[in-house]
Symmetry: C2
Subunit: 355 residues, 2 copies
């Protein structure tokens, strides 16, 4: 199928990426992939492995290939369809770096330092509250922790919202599915597109955020679900493993006689996603203490498992070679689109005099 | 001539670039180009138009093409020889962006903020000494000016030493001709090469700085020579124009009877470069007040002019089309070398699994 025919009847353009950091959990599947599978029917869809983004926080690339191939297998087994979507690897489309470099010139450092993701990272890394500047003066509070953290954060991390903007703008994405926490980044992308268009003439599409209606799924301990916290449930688990993880979940009712508030409980996150017919009954039972937490939990494992029957059947049948073929084809298609944008960008900047 | 034969007998590799910001003055010719013309005989030489660097401080690209072509004409007329050197335009070799993006991940923000060029730029831009942080707290001194300036400096500017490192490492440069002020940048380049090699295995050549013996030429007012200060002398000027500029120069002897110190005088910078046979006599005459400043100056215009006779004869004969041919050929050759390095880099990072 040639690039011109592909997707010719779809109107909007959607772009989304995922870092290849290891096994996906149900939060990824329900929060991101289910959306991708829907959107590919209505939008020209570009889904990519954000490997250059992964490098901003992890330089060890030993498992990068394995993680990439496994993640894309998950996408495919769950229904992301290479006949409907362009599936590719960021580092195989160097135009991302090229547009990123150009956009970096359009934004000041202050704007990037104000990004919540950057501040969060600095907060996360700062453990001491005083330090000294190069003149030996004692610094305290905000300035101290910023300085310390800047010794631990890569320059690529500061620029990652700029590279993300390049990811989006290269494909003329009209819509970018994101969580609330990513909204400031989409605002930056819009701002960069506007600055470029104002400086060099209308060239880049200003995208809209598509804030997911996906329901939140907290980890089994109530924190953000993450493999590294060992509080994750993943679709590859059999019902017994899922049962054991669900049983271990901490609920909010101190005694079973006490009334609960379902929205405060991570178990209820799962009910809302996997047990929609039981959702209201359970909320009521929790609020008036007529259902035991154990019984509430026990409704889940079979339902969670069943939601991935199809996935579990397909997943082992997808081989590395097939994934590589899909990515080869996707990289080629993505490169064609990306290069077309770069050429328009260079032309707008009057830097095409040697072409 | 194919790429393999080109330069096959030279040992070291030299890389150097210049921003296309307008007419070149004698400081560029004597401080940089004379060195290039020498080095191309002994080293594989890569000389490039640093247009992406120019964009870090100037977004207006209206005159970029003109400045680029004119600058390369100057190079060619002065003796930079496309049969001996690879002459190219940075933005036509997107591998610079690609390696820059990878290197950005290997260095922390603190290291870039400590670069003297970055600090100087912040100093230059800061005009106020107090401001407030986002919580309304008053900031003073260092932290205040940093915050203010960060609203005016592009993210690309912070990263420019990283892009410069990519420029160098892409071509396996063994030697980089620089002024003293650029030494911290070469140190950063060496550090980045070492970090990469340690993390992913020996891949990148660690370059050496080649600190120029070029003599300093201050502007006619004693400040740094710059077209924007109108204190420049350039090789396109005829002897009358040069005479007028030299006459206007401020010398350090308050009266002609007072003894002077030649090394404190911008006129003596010119004597050292253009009047080597008179240099010692004049230094003596200045130190014992036996020569008048007027007479000292008047030895210069003919000599300066004569140094560029050959240049002035050749310059008008070089047409845009010839320059474009040179750059086309150079871009092609540079791309071949750069792509080879990128492939080795990607392989070392084990990110070549889809090639």
């Amino acid at each position: 199928m040639n690039e011109a025919d592909f997707d010719s009847k779809k109107e909007g353009v959607v772009l989304s990426g995922m870092r290849p950091t290891g096994e996906l959990h149900i939060g990824h599947f329900e929060g991101v992939l289910r959306n991708w599978v829907e959107l590919q029917n209505t939008h020209r869809s570009f889904y990519f492995v954000a490997d250059w983004h992964a490098l901003t926080t992890e330089l060890d690339t030993t498992h990068l290939q394995r993680h990439t191939l496994d993640m894309v297998k998950d996408w495919l087994a769950f229904g992301v369809d290479p006949e409907k979507s362009t599936i590719f690897v960021q580092s195989y489309v160097p135009q991302h770096a090229e547009l990123g470099l150009i956009l970096e010139r359009l934004i000041n450092i202050g704007a990037l330092e104000r990004m919540p993701s950057f501040k969060d990272q600095l907060n996360h890394l700062s453990t001491q509250s005083t330090t000294r500047d190069e003149n030996g003066q004692i610094l305290t509070g905000e300035d101290a922790f910023r300085r310390l953290a800047k010794e631990k954060v890569s320059a690529g991390f500061l620029n990652y919202p700029v590279l993300q903007s390049a990811d989006i703008l290269l494909y003329g994405a009209t819509h970018v599915p994101v969580g609330e926490d990513q909204l400031p980044h989409i605002e930056l992308t819009r701002e960069l597109a506007r600055i470029f268009n104002r400086q060099y003439g209308e060239t880049l599409v200003v995208p809209e955020a598509l804030v997911g209606e996906a329901k939140r799924i907290r980890g089994t301990d109530g924190r953000k679900m993450s493999k590294s916290y060992k509080n994750d449930i993943n679709p590859g688990m059999d019902p017994a493993q899922i049962t054991s993880r669900v049983k271990s979940m901490v609920t909010v009712r101190s005694t079973l006689e006490k009334k609960g508030e379902p929205f405060d409980c991570a178990v209820y996150d799962l009910q809302r996603v996997f047990n929609q017919e039981g959702e209201l009954r359970i909320a009521q039972g929790c609020r008036n203490a007529s259902i035991r937490c154990y019984d509430c939990k026990m409704e889940l494992p079979d339902k969670i498992s069943a939601a991935y029957d199809d996935y579990r059947e397909k997943r082992p049948k997808i081989g590395d070679d097939f994934v590589k073929d899909v990515l080869h084809e996707g990289n080629k298609r993505a490169t064609t689109v990306a290069q077309r944008t770069i050429e328009r960008v260079i032309e707008a900047m009057k830097m095409d005099y040697l072409r």
